[in-house]
Symmetry: C2
């Protein structure tokens, strides 16, 4: 049914003619078209909650950059909000929660969200799926439970997330209760995304890197694994645990289909640890500041290192807002035109 199903085939480990390419934060501020749509909402939360606007910016990069997939425009923090912990997005600062979780009583007050609590995302997916008209796959996503937990305890971004980690060290049972509630909410939410048309899912564990390996396995990967088990019978699931350099092998033991890598990871070394999983990544976003000559050299080297099959080309993190759209398109074209047999 999909006219371009490269991403799905690559995620499933099937043979492809060329590696698919999409970019984290492709629906974002590098596109003037995004900024124009964004300006029609009164604030970021309102933007996220308006399905027509979310649909518009989700499709823009397919039209403008020629990427092999659309990712639904949304925010990972819609889950805490649906569980009863609202937040604001403060310009140039990031997310901010008026209330944070401090005790078991706070956790008990939270509800387990279902897809109905997030109908605006579901509607945005349905609309985007329809508008895409099967040109490319539609990626759904959620934050990984640990990353959502980190914001719900800390109340905002942090260099160290020391409050969230302190909670793990001092209230481990309550931490597990909260992580379980987030996990159940996320499973409900992602099942709703699949029903609404998501062809593949990605879990973003943005703050994986602040945990030690043992803490990561106990408080993050266990829950990611549950989500993969619930969703992978339906669609492929990619796990992107930023900065969890030690975890590739353990992630490959979950039922995910693909593993996202940041730019500090050596492709060959990841391949040797990832079993039969597909790998996704991992150019440094800052490479796209460089000259075309340098972009060509480093991209070719990366593509060669990963190989054509079981590979999804992407960056190792989201696009930075001040990157030049033309350079980004240059990168996408480069990947699409790479001669795999040379």
């Amino acid at each position: 049914m999909l006219k371009n199903d490269l991403l799905i085939r690559a995620a499933k480990g099937l043979e492809v003619e060329r590696a698919p390419v999409w970019l984290m934060r492709q629906a974002g501020r590098i596109l003037p078209e995004y900024k124009a749509t964004r300006a029609r909402a009164k604030n970021f939360i309102d933007f996220v909650k308006t399905p027509e606007l979310a649909c518009e910016v989700s499709i823009q990069p397919v039209d403008i950059l020629g990427v092999d997939a659309a990712i639904i425009f949304s925010d990972i923090l819609v889950i805490p909000e649906a569980m009863g912990l609202p937040y604001q997005m403060i310009e140039a600062k990031g997310p901010w929660f008026e209330n944070t979780i401090k005790s078991k009583a706070d956790v008990d007050k939270l509800k387990i969200a279902d897809a109905g609590d997030l109908d605006y995302v579901i509607k945005a997916l349905q609309l985007t799926k329809k508008e895409l008209n099967n040109r490319v796959p539609l990626i759904g996503f959620a934050g990984a439970p640990w990353t959502l937990f980190a914001y719900m305890i800390e109340g905002s971004g942090s260099k160290t997330f020391s409050k969230a980690k302190q909670f793990l060290y001092t209230q481990p049972e309550t931490a597990h209760l909260l992580l379980e509630k987030i996990t159940q909410s996320t499973i409900n939410y992602l099942k709703g995304q699949v029903a609404a048309g998501a062809d593949i899912l990605q879990l973003f564990d943005s703050w994986a890197g602040v945990l030690s390996p043992d803490m990561y396995y106990e408080f993050s990967l266990n829950y990611i694994s549950k989500i993969c088990d619930a969703l992978s019978p339906l669609v492929p699931v990619t796990v992107f645990a930023k900065d969890a350099h030690y975890a590739t092998e353990k992630i490959s033991q979950t039922s995910c289909s693909s593993i996202g890598l940041d730019w500090t990871i050596n492709p060959q070394s990841a391949r040797s640890q990832a079993g039969n999983k597909t790998l996704q990544g991992n150019a440094d976003p800052c490479l796209l500041y460089a000259s075309e000559e340098k972009i060509i050299r480093e991209t070719n080297q990366m593509l060669k290192a990963f190989g054509k099959n079981k590979y999804i080309c992407n960056l190792g993190h989201g696009l930075y807002p001040d990157l030049d759209k033309e350079k980004v398109k240059f990168f996408v074209d480069l990947v699409k035109n790479y001669k795999w047999n040379s």
Copy 2:
């Protein structure tokens, strides 16, 4: 001459009765005594520039926590300032540079600093060395060239240091010129520190983790290696490259004596990559929020994993200011009383 030379012997790979222990940011806000001294300076820069105050806070943790070394209280950004790029330390925000480096002309204007430009640190070292009366070794330090470069381009802290990285990608020759000037200044400065009494040195590469491995080797480790070559004939040098998980083996090929590790690194795996170098680290600072029981369990596990020789016990990063001083002392005592033969 040193009454307690455990740190020096461990750094040199000599036999020890027990592993030495000290803590990054031990001269810092976890101690009420530090806050009292700090209150006598009109601001952070003034504090750093007053040898009597710097001496006082450098010695406090030796008296209060019983650590096996003093580290001179100073700041890594004294080098950019001595080169002609002054900064302010803004409360709750961090460092801020009014002028930043944008071009070769800006680099040309900078001077290569010598120890005389940093006489206030030299005096602080002399005073501290004298006051310590050889009870424990005195650690000198500097920021690694890449980390200083990152601040000089970016002008402040940053989650991504994308401006500094953009500079590497777009002006690599000028970047190397600046890194070379920083390196020469740092060598002059550290030689001055040794002459003033530093028994061992540490290079802090706080922002190593934002670079890809190839960029790290080219723009950071090359310069660290030069500094090690210039200083290691005089005193042992420890290299701490935070988040550069991939670099342990390459760091071990420099002339450093020891390698600092953050808490995401597995001790056994680091040992297998570090050749005959001493390892330093790597407890998660957040462990010190936990119960004594948990601190005992995890610390014992870490000490066993590293082994008694060629090991310096420390955290994987600096102490967080809100940690309880009693818990920190509990950790230090635990390490000092560990039964290595059990």
